[in-house]
């Protein structure tokens, strides 16, 4: 069986700065993987490369055993992405935004799917309001709806909790875990509490490399904190 995601010797260079250094990472299907690390460790860059927004300088990415190429639109439609930016147009309503993305993802019966996902993120009542009038939490929820719209088998979340209150955070994770499709989830986070609660395994990145990987077998928040600081302060 092939991995959901496999990175081989992934390197991303910005001028002389290496944001990713020979990253090798494979993730089994239907797993939830957390990526931890300081700012600038390469977490976001990795997510961006996996989502095809960014080209790796060297190395390859495989999705379900197939190499991910820029013009492979079919493979790209298996990926859902939630990042710092909402990717929503503030002049359009929630419904119009999702309608737009459903044409890009070529969904069959988009109206049904849009209503369904809007209900799931508790925005159905405000579906015709412009996104510009939404609060941060509502925008983030709609953004998640946008990422899940085409039922991707791989979901990439780049610090999804930024700026969210506790309730929105819980709703977000609940939706990610209970949405009907089987999927692999990769998320970056600074929040140890939700990380230990949600992930199946986690990796720690440091200066563009994956320096630690571990299964989550009932690890506690303080254990994780200890491992995290050991890895970051300890031997290079």
């Amino acid at each position: 069986m092939s991995y959901a995601i496999e990175c081989k010797d992934l390197t991303k260079r910005f001028g002389d700065f290496k944001a990713l250094k020979n990253v090798n990472l494979s993730v089994d299907k239907n797993r939830i993987l957390a990526i931890l690390g300081h700012n600038g460790a390469g977490k976001s860059t990795l997510i961006r490369v996996l989502s095809t927004i960014m080209h790796p300088t060297e190395g390859k990415v495989f999705i379900d055993g197939k190499e991910l190429k820029e013009d492979d639109t079919l493979l790209r439609s298996k990926i859902g992405l939630l990042s710092h930016n909402s990717y929503l147009y503030s002049n359009l309503s929630a419904k119009e935004n999702l309608k737009f993305y459903s044409s890009l993802y070529n969904l069959k019966d988009p109206d049904k799917r849009i209503d369904e996902i809007l209900k799931k993120v508790n925005l159905y009542d405000r579906r015709n309001d412009r996104v510009g009038t939404y609060s941060r939490g509502m925008t983030q929820r709609l953004s998640l709806a946008r990422a899940l719209l085409h039922q991707p088998s791989i979901l990439l979340l780049d610090e999804p909790e930024t700026g969210l209150d506790r309730d929105s955070m819980e709703l977000l994770w609940e939706i990610v875990r209970t949405d009907d499709t089987e999927r692999t989830v990769i998320f970056t986070s600074h929040n140890f509490q939700s990380t230990v609660k949600i992930c199946d395994e986690f990796i720690i990145m440091k200066k563009g490399s994956v320096v630690h990987r571990q299964d989550n077998n009932g690890i506690t928040e303080s254990d994780l904190e200890k491992i995290y600081s050991e890895v970051n302060e300890g031997k290079k």
Binding site: E70, L81, N85, L88, Y89, N91, L92, L104, Y105
Partner: protein, 223 residues
């Protein structure tokens, strides 16, 4: 086909989103009309002179309001940080280019629809002629297409709004020459067969400057 569905979805989204932003579209239209009005103060001319200046006046109005409008094409993506959302979706880069270009062509058409009757009304010179309109429509395609490529480039530089005109205006010189000359000939009572040379330039420009940006666009939006 899925490709064209995405292209038209992008174009439609741009048109709806920009029309809803009423300040922008009304400012651009007002600017176009103001250009026409400024001409009156710049040269107080008799009817005959106006007739010979008309094609140039039209194209100065199109070129300057076109720069304003085309500059907007990617600023809206940038303001909402949506470009990455487009890039991550299963749509090829050239489809994004075509969608953007079609959206901006619609805006140019709106400008032209306003400028033609206003010009006719203000200067009492009828520029509404089927061949003149055909010339304008054909010239609009290449004009917007190369403009969109440069607009995508401009939005990624430090001086956004300044970049487009200094690069765009010299590049579209052939279109402006051909469109102005063709319009002159027609307003002077010439026939379509008198402007074939100019039409060829316009069509050649359209073909070349739809193809080249279509190929090069991906190199601008990549990271």
């Amino acid at each position: 086909m899925n490709y064209w569905k995405a292209v038209f979805a992008i174009a439609k989204k741009d048109v709806i989103s920009e029309l809803r932003n009423r300040e922008i579209i009304s400012s651009v239209l007002l600017f176009a009309v103001l250009t026409l009005i400024i001409f009156h103060f710049a040269f107080t001319a008799d009817q005959k002179t106006i007739l010979s200046l008309a094609p140039g006046m039209l194209w100065v109005a199109f070129a300057f309001s076109g720069v304003l409008s085309i500059n907007r094409a990617f600023i809206s993506e940038k303001e909402d940080n949506c470009m990455e959302g487009l890039l991550a979706s299963p749509v090829s880069r050239d489809a994004i280019f075509l969608g953007k270009a079609i959206g901006s062509i619609v805006f140019m058409l709106i400008i032209e629809i306003v400028v033609f009757p206003v010009f006719t009304l203000l200067y009492n010179v009828s520029v509404i002629n089927p061949i003149v309109i055909l010339v304008t429509l054909l010239a609009t395609i290449g004009f917007v297409s190369i403009g969109i490529l440069f607009s995508a480039l401009a939005v990624n530089t430090r001086a956004r709004e300044m970049v487009l005109p200094i690069l765009f205006l010299p590049t579209v010189v052939p279109l402006i020459i051909a469109a102005v000359s063709a319009t002159s000939v027609i307003l002077d009572g010439g026939k379509f067969s008198d402007i074939t040379q100019y039409m060829l330039i316009i069509v050649a420009f359209d073909i070349i400057f739809v193809t080249v940006p279509f190929i090069l666009f991906r190199y601008i939006v990549e990271e």
